[in-house]
Amino acid sequence: MSENQIMKISVSRYRPETDKEPYLQDFEVPYRKETSLLEALNYIKDFLEPELSFRWSCRMAVCGSCGMMVNGVPKLACKTFLRDYAGKSMKIEPLANFPIERDLVVDISDFIEKLERIKPYIIPSKEDENKPLTEGYIQTPQQMTSYLQFAQCINCGICYAACPQYKLNKNFIGPAALTLAYRYNIDSRDAGAAERMKLLSLDEGVWSCTFVGYCSQVCPKHVDPASAIQLGKKASAIDYVIKMFKPGEEE
């Protein structure tokens, strides 16, 4: 590939104070084989259109700021490379399924509230509550592996942009939050599964998922939320049957 080719990038613009609805603005950006979409956007901001707003920080696909739609597919801008679109054009839009705040910035507060709702922290058992700080839990490699993949989520919101069920029903707790709940439920240090199960077992919990599977397809960290949710459904179903036979234990 030769150095410094030119890519035509159409970027969705929306300024709440002046625009009625989003529109596309075209830019021409020179690129090399290493150029990421994030660098291209920063080039636009630095040299072509200082007004353009988008979130970004780490540039290395771990802070989760720069999720956006690239030709209709939700991706991290910093992990998207112009070289992969050589000969084509790129259309950049804000993450689907979230309200657009401005340009490529979306309002993710709903997602954050859902993350907070599922109690994403260790709820220790009574015995472990006052564990001294001179020792850790024993957690075997197998126990750790069981949840580790589900703990890789960077909260970028890409799975919500990919999820038709979230598109159709904003009450759905959604892929990342459900995955996080499941991650804590199966952590050997945690004893709070029963509390989280109440949320997972709601209609808007795991049961709103129809296993489309696109979340797992687009997840930049290979977290596989679809898997976590199916496993969550199994756990919820088993819990349902147990509660059916022991209704007394229902709080």
Partner: protein, 116 residues
Amino acid sequence: MSTRRSDEPIYWGLFGFGGMVIAFALPAILTLMILQGFGVDCFKLAAIAKTWWGAGALFVIVSASMWHGFHRIYHGLHDLCIHTTRVHHYVLYGLAVIFSLAALVIYASKFFGWCA
């Protein structure tokens, strides 16, 4: 935000079971039906339905497929932006119940010889 526990596990359980049954049983049954249609004499349904194992298997296959199918149709309506209510729920799962009961009656009568 609701706090009511979903009853979905029942339907999901039946749906999952039905999905399995469809995947394992229907390819063979459909293949035999099609071959029969082309004149290959291989689909002896009337005789099978009279055996205890045949009647039992057919009951399971028919009713499980119904539960699977109506469950997906119910959720599919939502996917098509049709706002589903309890009415849709009762109608679709009601159909699954009716067909399952019909299957029960039909295969039981076959087995016990209540009809031809």
